[in-house]
């Protein structure tokens, strides 16, 4: 099922629409946002210079810092009388970032979320259990709007109160689950207390999960624990909230709703575009935003894109699930590595835990990477040679999968320094020398 025929239109049609919308957006920010007009003037760019989609490279980037610097409404391009909704992301450091929506922005958000629900097979017949938090966070209301748009019955459960949520899911016969993946897993653990055949009490067929980075292993666990199709939704409040992209029934990759969001993948160090299929930082230019149009917003999320056709019939390009954050990227001997990739290798190893620490250092001019991994609480074999093999197989996997030469050290359980209960993941000793 496809919600809007634009999702499966020829790429030329989509790209024509993108170009005309990009031109409008550029005109709009040039005329209405002093911040952008100033940047254009500094680099000598005029809105007319945008004649093709490739010309987007001429435009300046926007960062989270820019949003913070204009807290709360400094980058809005409409009077507050036209703003119908405010959302905000939690700021772990300092001020949060504030976003606003006009009536037309809300319609776009409903539209893209309706596409998400349709991808997961949701119709007016379905009962959607929405366990995302309702509030300033975009998750709860974003899901709510999309489910409403497709005409499903929404149970606005919001977050918390696991036992009560399970009761509502059973009693109301929820068919679609919308929660964070970690909460879905927690719910399953509680549900399992009812016995091995706990699934007979539930009618779930699909779930829409997002809002946190998720490993493949965790997705499979959620999908298995609930016996459902796993659909991953991606989004961020700065762009719109959930609804920038979502995975369909035929692929693990996420279709980007390109008629509303233009995406680029750049090398975070140079700002240059990387070839299709290669990983880099995701940069998004919303094409239809009214209250808060942004140019080339640097998400800090690492992914790759492909324009290869999808078996579901949609022609919109697909991005892979976020593999990491630019802030966490390590460059080891010229190779970019993300802790999540290392974690993935460790998760496939035998006899070790996911408590690990990556230590980057220099030996002469060469980068040196050491990874300490805590062994499991009960050692899997008491033979030194076999334990050495575990270590060697992890080293070999790091080399063949990630092209990094790392020295693995197996360490005792709970020996890695903890901060707030979590193992400290990365220590970059090279940074102190700079």
């Amino acid at each position: 099922m496809i919600w809007n025929k634009i999702e499966s239109s020829p790429r030329e049609t989509i790209e024509q629409l993108q170009l005309s919308r990009l031109k409008d957006t550029v005109q709009r920010v040039y005329a209405l946002t002093p911040f952008y007009r100033h940047k254009f003037e500094q680099t000598g760019i005029k809105p007319e210079d945008i004649a093709s989609l490739k010309d987007i490279k001429k435009l300046p980037f926007t960062t989270k810092k820019d949003l913070r610097a204009h807290y709360p409404f400094g980058l809005f391009t409409v009077p507050m009388s036209e703003v119908v909704r405010i959302h905000s992301s939690s700021g772990t450091t300092g001020k949060p970032t504030v976003v606003g929506y006009t009536r037309s922005d809300m319609e776009v958000w409903d539209e893209v979320m309706a596409r998400v629900f349709t991808m997961a097979g949701t119709t007016a017949e379905d009962i959607v259990h929405n366990g995302y938090g309702y509030g300033l966070f975009t998750g709860g209301l974003g899901m709510h709007n999309g489910a409403q748009k497709v005409g499903a019955t929404i149970v606005p459960a919001s977050s918390g109160f696991t036992e009560r949520q399970l009761m509502l899911m059973k009693d109301f016969g929820a068919t679609i689950l919308a929660v964070t993946p970690s909460f879905a897993l927690h719910m399953a653990e509680v549900a399992k207390k009812a016995g091995p055949d706990y699934l007979k009490d539930y009618k779930l067929k699909a779930g829409i999960f997002g809002a946190e980075p998720t490993s493949k292993g965790l997705k499979e666990e959620v999908s298995k624990a609930w016996g459902i199709d796993y659909h991953e939704v991606y989004g961020l409040s700065e762009i719109i909230g959930p609804g920038v992209a979502c995975s369909c029934k035929k692929s693990d990759l996420l279709h980007v709703f390109e008629d509303h969001f233009f995406v680029e993948i750049i090398d975070p160090a140079t700002g240059e575009e990387v070839p299709e299929g290669q990983r880099g930082e995701l940069v998004i230019t919303p094409l239809t935003k009214q209250a808060l149009p942004l140019l080339r917003y640097r998400t800090g999320d690492i992914t790759s894109i492909t324009k290869e056709p999808c078996r579901c019939g949609r022609t919109m390009l697909r991005m892979e699930s976020i593999v990491g954050r630019t802030d966490d990227m390590l460059i080891i001997g010229g190779v970019n590595v993300y802790p999540s990739q290392i974690e993935h290798v460790i998760s496939n190893a035998y006899g070790v835990t996911l408590n690990y620490q990556i230590i980057a250092d220099k030996k002469g001019y060469l980068d040196k990477l050491e990874i300490h991994i805590e062994v499991s609480d009960e050692i899997v074999c008491d033979n030194v040679a076999q334990m050495e093999n575990i270590k060697k197989s992890i080293q070999a996997a790091l080399l063949s999968n990630l092209y990094i030469n790392a020295t693995v050290r197996l360490v005792e359980p709970r020996s890695i320094e903890r901060s707030m209960g979590k193992a400290v993941r990365i220590i970059d000793k090279r940074k102190s020398d700079e």
Partner: protein, 139 residues
């Protein structure tokens, strides 16, 4: 029953690590029957046979060590000449692979300790009994 319970403890090669373990066990009045340490460049596995393996495992677990209880069997060294060779040949005739073996000194008589795959344990001890090899009841 000729099954002897052995504790295997994962230990990083850090200065003072072994003596820390020994101090911990003696403070808890654990009586150690045998000690064997095999190590590589950065870690080792300490094998202990003690009077109460469950209690000792709790003590080590609580101290944050990765510990496992393994079944092993043992033969006395001076039972008769060639006891080691006899065990090895009986096991090899029965296609049983020895994972590791080491010697311990218990009192005046030493012993050879053998570890085979857990799935082969019963088969191994039965074959040895049949061949007339006297397995030790305890260390």
């Amino acid at each position: 029953m000729s099954k002897i319970k052995q504790l295997s403890v994962f230990m990083e090669n850090k200065k003072g690590e072994l003596s820390d373990v020994m101090t911990l066990l003696s403070q808890n009045n654990v009586s150690i029957k045998s000690i064997n340490l095999v190590d590589s460049a950065d870690f080792g596995i300490l094998k202990l046979i003690v009077d109460d393996e469950q209690k000792t495992k709790h003590i080590l677990d609580d101290a944050g060590f990765s510990v496992k209880i393994t079944d092993v069997f043992a033969v006395a060294i001076d039972d008769h000449v060639g006891s080691f060779h006899e065990v090895v040949s009986v096991l090899s005739q029965n296609d049983i692979n020895i994972e590791y073996t080491y010697t311990v000194n218990n009192g005046q008589n030493g012993a050879f300790v053998f570890k085979v795959d857990a799935g082969d344990f019963q088969k191994a001890t039965e074959a040895l009994s049949k061949a007339g090899v006297q397995l030790l009841q305890k260390i």
